[in-house]
């Protein structure tokens, strides 16, 4: 099987993810999406940072904890990193679902590691010289207090998710006596740590004690309230997004009502008339498509692009095709390659093309017309083709002016050419070619003026 289809074995190249696709071993495992860095409560010993990292990096949680412990021994870097990650990592809101909980053994293990981390840090401080070790005790006390308060903030966040969205800072203290006790304990510990720090400080004797006290208090308050500041910022962001979403939803609802619902009502009325139903559905489809994907469409953010003043050729052709689709209940498929602004000549070209499409719709007897337009440096070419009955070009009666006047005349007057290919039973193809004004040397002078007029 594979031998007969060599073409399908070409390497996969996707526009966006060339790098991504190369690192996976060929066809072995499906790529697991990388989990965002989110702290989960169920794997928490202190704050869940190690658990979050292990899931994000796809490493066993024990290794993450050991790394933190070792880093803590190196001048307390591990403690600092842990604290920062705690601050800036969001809590996972899908928290309460069941999952792999930590077993008691892992829990004991990690508590031991936490103790070891602090021990290592203390040892580091002690070994690094007597002069630096004076702040050990106050720092440990202060950090303990901060950890207690932050942990309480996490709990408050979780309660909020559980109870529904209540916002504001007030409910933080509304969690019962245990919570209040823990918060107070944290505050006392932090303040105590700060006080001890000031009291024991050997180097700050010459600075006024009041100033130091004020500074220490300020730092303490800032550190303690970090979780609430962060939450405030996140909530503001969330609210802004919610407003945008609401506005968008209203816009969509209004549009659906104006167009789609009306069309559906019309379709129900005309249920017996198949042709009419097709016509309505086609028109609505085109309108919705323009709304969704068009130049000023919904998916483009609704911003009109720079060409709004001058109609582009592709738009003009799309409009012409749409008109004929609506009027004659045929499907007109159009493809435009390249694009340019329309001027007088190109407008004439589009009108001639429209006439050709109408002819096909009226006389070919088939319900599909293909339109192809190509914009080149020197000329624009349009092909209108159907696979219908065709006709004998020489035998067209004199009173049929469509082809002679509307198409031939219009094209000739503007310097264009018409070629007709048809025979009875062979379908019809009208080829229209119009030179582009801007590229004819003798008319270069008035080209800008013409472009201005058409707006």
């Amino acid at each position: 099987m594979t031998g007969t289809r060599p073409r399908v074995t070409i390497p996969q190249v996707s526009a966006e993810t060339v790098e991504d696709s190369n690192d996976a071993p060929a066809g072995e495992r499906d790529r697991v999406p990388v989990r965002p860095l989110r702290r989960t409560r169920r794997r928490r010993v202190v704050a869940g940072v190690a658990g979050a990292l292990s899931e994000h990096l796809d490493v066993d949680v024990l290794w993450v904890r050991i790394a933190f412990t070792v880093l803590a021994g190196l001048g307390g870097a591990g403690l600092l990193v842990y604290g920062l990650l705690w601050m800036f990592t969001e809590l996972d809101s899908g928290d309460e679902r069941s999952g792999t909980d930590e077993n008691p053994k892992q829990r004991q293990q990690s508590l031991g590691l936490v103790a070891l981390a602090f021990g290592l840090f203390a040892a580091f401080v002690a070994l690094s010289g007597q002069s630096a070790s004076w702040f050990m005790v106050p720092l440990a006390v202060g950090l303990g207090g901060v950890a207690l308060v932050w942990r309480e903030a996490d709990e408050a966040q979780r309660r909020r998710w559980r109870d529904g969205a209540r916002s504001g800072v007030t409910e933080v203290v509304g969690g019962g006596r245990g919570v209040t006790m823990r918060l107070v304990a944290g505050l006392v510990l932090t303040c105590g740590g700060a006080a001890l720090l000031i009291y024991q400080s050997p180097t700050l004797d010459h600075v006024p004690t009041v100033l130091i006290a004020v500074l220490a208090t300020l730092v303490g308050v800032v550190v303690l309230t970090v979780p609430w500041w962060l939450r405030l910022v996140r909530e503001l962001d969330e609210q802004r997004r919610a407003t945008v979403r609401t506005r968008e939803r209203e816009e969509i609802a209004a549009h659906l009502h104006d167009s789609v619902l009306q069309t559906l009502a019309l379709i129900q009325k005309h249920a017996e008339d198949g042709r009419e139903v097709v016509r309505l559905a086609r028109g609505q489809e085109r309108q919705l498509r323009t709304w969704l994907y068009g130049p000023t469409g919904y998916r483009r953010g609704g911003r009109p692009t720079g060409h709004a003043a001058n109609t582009m050729l592709s738009e003009a052709i799309a409009v012409a095709c749409g008109d004929v689709e609506d009027a004659f209940a045929v499907a007109v498929q159009h493809v435009v390659v390249g694009d340019c602004a329309t001027d007088e000549r190109l407008t004439a070209l589009v009108q001639a093309a429209r006439e050709a499409i109408v002819n096909s719709a009226k006389h070919s007897g088939v319900e599909q017309v293909s339109v192809y337009a190509e914009v080149e440096e020197t000329a624009v070419t349009v092909f209108v083709r159907d696979r219908g009955s065709g006709f004998d070009a020489d035998a067209v009666p004199e009173d049929r002016h469509g082809l002679a006047d509307s198409i031939n005349g219009r094209m000739r007057r503007n310097g264009g050419r018409v070629r007709l290919r048809t025979a009875p039973g062979e379908g019809t193809e009208v080829q229209l070619e119009m030179p582009r004004v801007a590229h004819r040397p003798q008319q270069d002078a008035d080209a800008p003026a013409q472009r201005g007029e058409t707006s």
Binding site: T4, R5, A15, E16, P295
Partner: protein
């Protein structure tokens, strides 16, 4: 069901083409299944729908289980769309051929799914008969270009002012003949009509289109992806 795969000698038209449908609209799947199952040559069915899926996850599992010849997949789906599915299953199943089906016709979607490895692209408004024809064609290893896709590719490879310089002429340029074929495709010509128009065989037309498909998938011309996102109109 899977044991039947082993005796496949490739290209024998007698064995029905096994198709797997991926689309998040159940109603649409039902419709396509009915249309494809009714495609017969004489008394034997040419196409059998072996399974369907409504999400990327189901599709990955279903394709692995059924080992279809052709996967018909929707460009737009909630969890990533056709391009995402292609990314996830193409390596594991290089022998499976993908044909993209879409209502959107937006250039970036179409180009993305082709670049991800689909061998063809058709719009959902295509008639049942045409769809069956397209399925049989991709099953034979030939690409299927709708007129619109041909237009997109022509546009993407065109040399406009400010276009990125060609770094690999082999991949970044279309030959004049390929251009001719694409133009006729965009004008709504069938392969047979193109062949007689250009005085070449249908097989040669298919070769040209295959070559264009390969270039569309492999060309690293920056223009190609940027063009698709820049393009304002469908």
């Amino acid at each position: 069901m899977t044991s039947a795969d082993n005796d496949d000698t490739g290209g024998t038209p007698r064995r029905p083409v096994r198709v797997f449908l991926v689309d998040d609209h159940a109603l649409f799947r039902t419709g396509v299944r009915a249309e494809l199952d009714s495609t017969t040559a004489g008394s034997t069915a040419q196409i059998v729908v072996v399974g369907e899926a409504g999400s990327i996850g189901e599709a990955v599992a279903g394709i692995a289980r059924h080992q279809p010849d052709v996967v018909l997949l929707d460009v737009h789906m909630p969890d990533g769309g056709g391009a995402e599915l292609l990314r996830r299953v193409r390596r594991a199943h290089p022998e499976v051929v993908f044909l993209a089906l879409s209502v959107s016709d937006a250039a970036e979607d179409v180009i993305a799914v082709i670049r991800a490895g689909a061998r063809g692209y058709v719009t959902k408004t295509i008639s049942g008969q045409e769809l069956a024809g397209a399925v049989l064609r991709v099953a034979d290893g030939d690409p299927v270009f709708s007129p619109r896709l041909a237009g997109f590719v022509l546009d993407a490879f065109s040399d406009r002012k400010g276009a990125t310089p060609v770094s690999d002429p082999e991949l970044d340029l279309l030959t004049p003949r390929e251009r001719d074929v694409l133009r006729l495709l965009a004008r709504g010509y069938a392969y047979k009509e193109i062949a007689s128009e250009l005085f070449i065989s249908v097989k040669t037309v298919e070769t040209h289109v295959s070559s264009v498909l390969r270039k569309t998938q492999l060309s690293n011309r920056y223009e190609l992806s940027r063009w698709a996102t820049d393009r304002r109109l469908v």
